[in-house]
């Protein structure tokens, strides 16, 4: 018998987490975005320091554009300042959009501080560990469980290779799409953002197709 939560408890839990974060911070959270910013912490710290230095909105936007062009090799003169198709501030990225009530434009474009993103990732680990221990599921293991063995591979070397390749696809894909389950799936779909609805439909659909291939064909 499954020891996992019933669907309604899971739905309530995920919804509470998302709604609470939005109300407290006026932002959306995204785990892939947090990973991205933590992994590029040097650049993020530099941007944060610049953010603190520039009080003037326009000066900040121009400085960010120059720094981004330098760092990412964007063609000179190409502005990375967001377009404003709807006449209101565009979110800085899918996972860190500001709220209208935030105030001035410079403030509303500011993502959550880098340290908070690192704290989010560490806290997910602690939360997952508490869940595993309190439910009696915690066990050190050197495989990914019977499901992975049956459906994918029982060979440890192949398993390591597939997990790495799968991880690369997840990391690359989520950032290319601009979000993952939390950024696009919960926060974006919750706000009925078309881009998030499209992304969520496509990554769920693709996962369904690949899973059927693993189950029925391979």
């Amino acid at each position: 018998m499954s020891t996992y939560w019933p669907w309604w408890a899971g739905a309530a839990g995920l919804a509470l987490v998302t709604i609470n974060y939005t109300l407290v911070t006026d932002r959306s959270f995204g785990v892939s975005s947090a990973w991205d910013r933590v992994l590029h912490w040097r650049n993020e710290r530099r941007l944060e320091r610049m953010d603190e230095e520039f009080a003037d909105d326009q000066a900040l936007a121009e400085a960010l554009a120059v720094a981004t062009a330098e760092h990412f090799g964007t063609a000179a003169g190409t502005s990375t300042v967001p377009q404003l198709p709807y006449g209101e501030p565009q979110p800085s990225e899918a996972d860190t959009e500001p709220a209208a009530s935030e105030g001035p434009a410079a403030t509303s474009l500011r993502p959550a501080p880098l340290i908070t993103q690192a704290a989010l990732l560490v806290s997910i680990f602690i939360g997952g560990w508490i869940a595993a221990v309190t439910s009696g599921r915690f066990r050190i293991r050197y495989d990914m469980g019977p499901g992975f063995k049956e459906l994918v591979t029982a060979n440890p070397i192949t398993m390591i290779a597939l997990l790495f390749v799968g991880g690369v696809l997840v990391g690359f894909g989520t950032r290319l799409a601009g979000g993952c389950n939390s950024g696009h799936g919960l926060n974006g779909c919750g706000r009925l953002r078309p881009v998030s609805i499209v992304a969520t439909a496509v990554f769920f659909g693709t996962a369904v197709v690949v899973s059927f291939l693993l189950w029925k064909v391979i």
């Binding site: 997910i124 991880g167 997840v170 919960l186 998030s196």
Partner: protein, 138 residues
């Protein structure tokens, strides 16, 4: 209200609750995940879809601002890559963390792959894609 400390605290509480919830739903269990994707057991799908429905209703009631989001060129190919990687490895960016926390040590390899993929995306975007905001950390 939205001071640095408040945002830090919110991220800690969110991380703890998200890790606890995701692990207890079973997203870290590869067999459960495959059963969801192959429609053998829709419990986890209902958890996700139910959460989205609740969030949509709550945001509408609370008048949370709808933010525009341009469907940029990276959305569909990125989502296809993500969906493929998710089905193969059983991990989205949060899940391998909870898998390691539950004792699945090989998930450390998934995390290594995720970090490589994220860094690769920024590099590839700067060198080849030149996509604008909303993609690859821009």
């Amino acid at each position: 209200m939205r001071t640095r400390g408040a945002i830090l605290l919110a991220n800690i509480v969110t991380g703890l609750a998200l890790g606890f919830t995701v692990a207890n739903i079973g997203y870290g269990d590869y067999a459960e995940l495959n059963r969801m994707f192959t429609f053998q057991d829709l419990r986890m799908f209902y958890s996700f879809a139910g959460a989205v429905v609740i969030i949509v209703c709550a945001f509408a009631l609370l008048r949370v601002r709808r933010t525009p989001g341009r469907i940029h060129a990276g959305v569909v190919p990125g989502a296809v890559l993500f969906g493929t990687g998710w089905a193969i490895s059983g991990g989205c960016p949060a899940i391998p963390i909870t898998q390691v926390a539950s004792g699945y040590l090989p998930a450390l390899v998934t995390i290594a792959g995720v970090t490589v993929g994220i860094r690769l995306c920024r590099w590839a975007n700067a060198r080849y894609f030149h996509l604008d905001r909303g993609s690859c950390g821009l």
